[in-house]
């Protein structure tokens, strides 16, 4: 009796401790799990498409990276992660960069294979150091404050910062959960990625190193930044949750808020090549059109009421927007009221669209498909 009483706890304790890492190792870390090649990759959930190699580079669920040609031929590329990917862009040197869930960032060198260069753990560390810096700055401000200054508010902020810091540190343990939602190449080796809860990342070396720029946009409520795009004149535009919108005229060094005439969520923004026309779109068929590079915006609402998730403007200024319930809306950018609304028979939620000759390339819930414009 006594022997067991003495021995059991001592024997069990190390065993219990030892079993913890074992448990973890038997689980899947999607950030470390190469994507499974699927015989039906082209019917997966597709989140984005980007023109590449006379076809399109597509991102989708379970780490999907797919080179798709308009004739329906496709090839799934080896992807080092199994988290959902949300957007992809290409750099001038031919390399490609993709972003996704858990803040994964992947890069493929020209003629190379995809490699993970960043993930949510890195982001969490960036956020921790940013928070620590803010905390230290704030602490200093409080310390240096004049004796009679009202520091109540500052101390409250400090407390909030401490909480945020604790939460963020805890995330190193539990793992990241915030997706990056879009990426844009800002010329040269500069890249910007936007994501959930106001995340804005910037790299000046084609993705080798990333800096947290979330604080450089005025987004105190940390609304999701849903999309980022770049116009021909080099301006950068961000739109997001609750009608937030930002513009940068200095290639991302500084950002100004845009005063948008709509306060619901915007899921995308697209710029016309060679013209100052912009279209932003979002919930419930709301469409914002600017013909002056984002200085002023007109609000329109498409009657069908379905949310728009993706859109493009072709060289002739024809806008095509796609979204929930298979909706495909098109109008000349100069005459937003001259709108044609059609529904794709699949009824899929479409996330992205491209105009390819007389066809529309539609990507979304049920995969990618070409659809005759007629």
């Amino acid at each position: 009796m006594r022997l067991t009483r003495l021995f059991v706890p001592r024997l069990l304790l190390p065993a219990l401790i030892a079993s913890q890492p074992l448990l973890a190792s038997a689980n899947v870390e999607l950030l470390q799990t190469p994507a499974l090649h699927s015989t039906r990759a082209a019917q997966s959930v597709i989140t984005n498409l980007h023109p590449a190699n006379d076809g399109y580079l597509l991102t989708g669920e379970r780490g999907l990276l797919l080179q798709w040609q308009a004739d329906g031929q496709w090839q799934q590329q080896n992807s080092p992660v199994s988290v959902g990917l949300t957007a992809v862009t290409t750099l001038a040197d031919g390399s490609a960069v993709a972003v996704g869930h858990d803040a994964a960032i992947l890069r493929r060198a020209p003629q190379g294979e995809w490699q993970k260069i960043f993930d949510g753990y890195d982001l969490t560390r960036l956020q921790i150091s940013a928070l620590e810096k803010r905390r230290d700055d704030l602490q200093q401000t409080i310390d240096n404050a004049a004796e009679d200054a009202d520091i109540g508010e500052l101390e409250y902020q400090l407390e909030e910062l401490e909480f945020s810091l604790e939460d963020t540190q805890a995330e190193l343990e539990t793992g990241p959960n915030k997706p990056l939602l879009d990426i844009v190449s800002a010329g040269g080796k500069r890249l910007f990625a936007v994501g959930a809860y106001g995340t804005l990342l910037c790299s000046d070396d084609a993705g080798d190193n990333w800096q947290l720029h979330s604080a450089s946009v005025d987004n105190p409520d940390r609304f999701h930044l849903n999309a980022i795009t770049r116009s021909d004149d080099g301006s950068l535009y961000i739109v997001g949750e609750s009608g937030v919108g930002f513009v940068s005229r200095d290639n991302g060094d500084s950002w100004q808020s845009m005063d948008l005439p709509y306060d619901g969520s915007l899921f995308g923004i697209t710029a016309q090549a060679g013209a100052p026309n912009l279209v932003a779109f979002g919930l419930q068929g709301h469409v914002l059109v600017s013909s002056d590079g984002g200085d002023s915006w007109q609000h329109h609402k498409v009657e069908a009421g379905a949310s728009f998730l993706g859109g493009t403007i072709d060289q002739n200024g024809q806008v095509v927007l796609v979204g929930h319930g298979g909706i495909v809306a098109s109008f000349p950018v100069a005459q937003p009221d001259d709108i044609t609304v059609r529904k794709h028979p699949s009824g899929a939620a479409f996330s992205a669209v491209a105009v390819d000759g007389k066809q529309l390339i539609l990507a979304g819930q049920f995969g990618v498909t070409a659809w005759d414009m007629k």
Binding site: L23, E61, R62, L283
Partner: protein
């Protein structure tokens, strides 16, 4: 010894036989009264036997898959046991006030069907079917039928808009908007009676109160679901009673043609029909019902009864022709046949019993029912029939016909006697070799499992299957579902890491050819995250944050997680339920399990109709070989015991093997798979087929022992027994041939195969047995049986002697009264 017994034939040869005979014939009125009472009681019981179709009996009860399924049966019930009532508009789409009114009425009607789980009932008209959309304010939604619906055009337009937002297109509304579904989950227990749900009652109720009531020029009703399959099966099985009547009529005609004696014909028919009722009575007393599979047994019992009855009646007529009075004729017939008859029936029974090795309830029930039936025949046709014959006798017309025929060579003799001659023997052996080659070639294409789409139990062109095809064509639902059960600890089934495993398995299974779609609660979570983030598709995916994940599965439909969240089924939707597809799916899951060993979740195979079919196929594939070994083992052992000559055993068994092989080739060519229904057929065919060989060789040996050569011996055999063998083959075949018209596909398959096997076994026995006997020089054995007879203690020898005595016994009686 042979000589001495021949001289003694009018007296029974052993004490036991004498005892049997004196019991039966000593107190005929008493025996007959007791038997009559017994048979009446059993018949009365037999009339109470209930048609049934128990789901659990059709599946292999001890297979790993089934054990796993049974552990979660209650929880998976929501998922599987539903009835879908499709209300189809014949003109235009469903968005008219008239159509909606019908849909509403059907929904209300189904609500009150006993056994329908009312909470789970779904249609556009139930409040649990909602539309929702994401707006600036978050989710908004409501019932598809708006409050204050008044059938106005405006309201119908709103219904239409709501349907689009409800996500029910392809689920409750046809992809072409020409039909809508009322989906009714069923409870296992009828809450009003507390008894298990009576599928037949439910099926009838749906037919009368839904299909018949609401079908019109504008509206067509289609009903699909397991309960309906079972209902249709039982209805179809009941129709089979008509086939029984048909079989009886045809047999009546044949018997009359054979005997030209109405009395004998009626006696044989009555005894055989009695045998059927008694068999049913014993089944009912043992607590069994009759299912669509064991429904075959009464037909077999009837046919076997008739074939043995015919032997008795011909012996009685034969004896009467020789001048015996009624009692003496019947008594001699009894004496000459009961041992041979019992031997044949016991070997049938043992053949049926080998089916017990197969771990599937309905097959075991069939084996039990058939064995009981055969035991009953011993009483009705070997004991009761001669006693009745001793009272009834043979009609003058029958006697005259028999007298006229007795010295003529019958058609059977004229056709088949030649096959013992070297020339014809060589020819038929060559033909057999060619058939054997062809059979072996085609038999390799034989498939395991069911091959047709829809409910394989029913015919492809049945109403159920056309309803099912409509559903498959117009809705995004596959009816072939393979379910993997993901077992976790309690409350952990939607933990992020477990959802990741579910999703990984889904991705893996998506690559297996034949898989259409895989879905589980992981997809609900991914879709939920998409919905909760204002419908932004980029959020589609699992989220590591458990609070977010829990919220994302808040709207999980019932059945995708169990009550204490310790199990989540992964639904693998398949293109079809062919055995290859099922094997690939099973192999796919096994490969995933071999590659990954998650410690928080265990993937258990398998449920869903396809999972159960995979288990059944597995058992059947193993049982197929096992059963052949058993049935042939038993047959060979019985023949060895009877004949003590491996050569004779070869001559008896080789034709049976050819028949089995050709049967398999036929299955391959006709697209009939090896399944629960067709597996027993081979055993039945062999078990009954061996009788012919036994009958023939008993006579051949007798003649050989008399010093005749093979050709003479075979001619003698055919004269003695050829007609009876041919008649037996035809009767058996007719008994089951009517099944070909059964509305139930597997019954038709069974009927076709058994008819083929009975006829072919008969032909094989008549043509191949003498040819093989020639090939193996069996006439050299002539000296041996005499030597064998020097050891009279051997029971098998006794049987042969008894059989060998019979013809001589009848010859002797001819002289005795004279």
């Amino acid at each position: 010894m042979t000589q001495s017994s021949t001289n003694n034939t009018s007296a029974p040869t052993s004490r036991i036989e004498a005892a049997c005979e004196s019991v039966v014939f000593g107190r005929r009125p008493l025996v007959l009264t007791i038997l009559t009472l017994l048979l009446l009681v059993l018949t009365w019981q037999g009339l109470k036997v209930r048609p049934e179709a128990s789901f659990t009996n059709m599946i292999p009860g001890n297979h790993e898959f089934i054990n796993n399924y049974m552990d979660y049966r209650q929880e998976l019930a929501d998922l599987g046991n539903v009835v879908r009532i499709v209300v189809e508009s014949k003109e235009g789409d469903i968005f008219t006030p008239e159509f909606q009114e019908v849909l509403k009425q059907v929904t209300d009607e189904v609500f009150y069907v006993p056994g329908v789980s009312r909470d789970g009932l779904k249609s556009l008209w139930t409040p649990n079917v909602r539309w929702q959309e994401v707006t600036e304010e978050g989710f908004v939604g409501g019932a598809v039928i708006p409050n204050g619906y008044d059938g106005s055009e405006k309201m119908v337009a709103r219904v239409k808009a709501n349907v689009f937002k409800s996500g029910q297109v392809g689920v409750l509304v046809g992809n072409d908007f020409r039909s809508a579904i009322v989906l009714a989950p069923l409870q296992d227990v009828n809450p009003e009676t507390g008894k298990p749900l009576d599928y037949r009652e439910l099926s009838d109720f749906l037919e009368q109160n839904v299909r018949d009531k609401y079908s019109s020029d504008q509206v067509q009703i289609r009903i699909v679901g397991f309960a309906k399959v079972i209902g249709d099966l039982i209805d179809g099985a009941v129709q089979v009673v008509l086939f029984f009547v048909l079989a009886v009529l045809i047999t009546f005609a044949l018997l009359w043609l054979y005997s030209r004696c109405l009395r004998s014909t009626f006696t044989v028919l009555a005894c055989s029909i009695f045998a059927v009722f008694c068999q049913l009575g014993v089944l009912n007393l043992l607590g069994y019902g009759i299912n669509p599979y064991s429904m075959l047994v009464p037909f077999l019992v009837f046919a076997i009864g008739v074939s043995h009855g015919v032997q008795i009646i011909s012996a009685v007529m034969h004896n009467s022709v020789r001048g015996a009075d009624k009692v003496a004729a019947a008594r001699l017939a009894f004496r000459s046949l009961y041992l041979a008859g019992i031997t044949a029936l016991v070997s049938d029974a043992i053949g049926f019993t080998t089916l017990m090795v197969i771990d599937i309830g309905v097959i075991r029930e069939l084996a039990i029912a058939a064995s009981i039936g055969v035991a009953v025949i011993i009483v009705t046709n070997l004991v009761a029939l001669p006693i009745i014959a001793s009272y009834v006798g043979v009609s003058a017309r029958g006697l005259a016909y028999a007298r006229e025929r007795q010295d003529q060579a019958s058609l059977v003799e004229r056709l088949f006697a030649r096959f013992a001659r070297p020339q014809q023997a060589k020819a038929i052996l060559a033909v057999a070799l060619i058939l054997c080659g062809a059979g072996a070639y085609y038999a390799q294409f034989m498939k395991i499992g069911d091959l047709d789409a829809g409910a394989p139990e029913l015919r492809p062109d049945s109403r159920y299957n056309s309803d099912n095809a409509y559903l498959v064509d117009n809705y995004s639902t596959s009816t072939d579902v393979f379910v993997v059960m993901a077992k976790t600890s309690a409350e952990q089934c939607v933990a992020y890491e477990n959802l990741v495993w579910l999703d990984q398995l889904a991705a893996h299974m998506g690559n297996v050819p034949g898989v259409q779609k895989v879905s589980s609660v992981a997809d609900v979570s991914k879709f939920g995250n998409f919905g909760m983030n204002e419908g932004s598709l980029k959020w589609y995916g699992l989220n590591r944050n458990q609070f977010i994940t829990n919220a994302s599965v808040g709207k999980a439909p019932p059945g995708l997680i169990n009550a204490d969240c310790s199990m989540a089924p992964v639904l693998v939707f398949l293109n079809d339920h062919k055995a290859e597809t099922l094997e690939r799916v099973v192999a796919g899951v096994q490969a995933f399990k071999a590659e990954h060993t998650p410690d928080s979740v265990e993937f258990l195979l398998a449920a869903g109709n396809s999972g159960i079919e995979a288990a059944t196929n597995d058992v059947i594939e193993d049982a197929q070989v096992e059963m052949l070994i058993w049935v042939y083992g038993v047959v060979i052992a019985l023949c060895l015991l009877t004949f003590r000559s491996p050569r004779i055993v070869l001559a008896v068994v080789l034709p049976l093997m050819l028949t089995s092989l050709l049967g398999q080739a036929l299955m391959a060519l006709m697209g009939i798979g090896v399944k629960v229904a067709t597996l027993p057929v081979i055993a039945l065919g062999v078990g009954i087929g061996v009788d012919y060989g036994i009958y023939i060789f008993t006579k051949v040996r007798e003649a050989l022992a008399d010093g005749k050569n093979l050709i003479e011996s075979y001619a003698y055999t055919l004269h003695q027994t050829g007609k009876a063998v041919a008649f037996t083959g035809v009767t058996l075949a007719i008994g089951v041939a009517t099944w070909v018209f059964s509305p139930i596909k597997f019954q038709a398959d069974m009927g076709l195969l058994l008819t083929f096997m009975f006829l072919w076994n008969m032909l094989g026995a008549l043509m191949l047995v003498p040819a093989i006997a020639w090939l193996l020089r069996i006439d050299n054995l002539a000296a041996k049986p005499a030597a064998g007879n020097s050891a009279p203690a051997e029971p098998a020898e006794k049987q042969i002697n008894a059989a060998a005595q019979s013809p001589r016994a009848t010859k002797q009686t001819e002289t005795e009264p004279a």
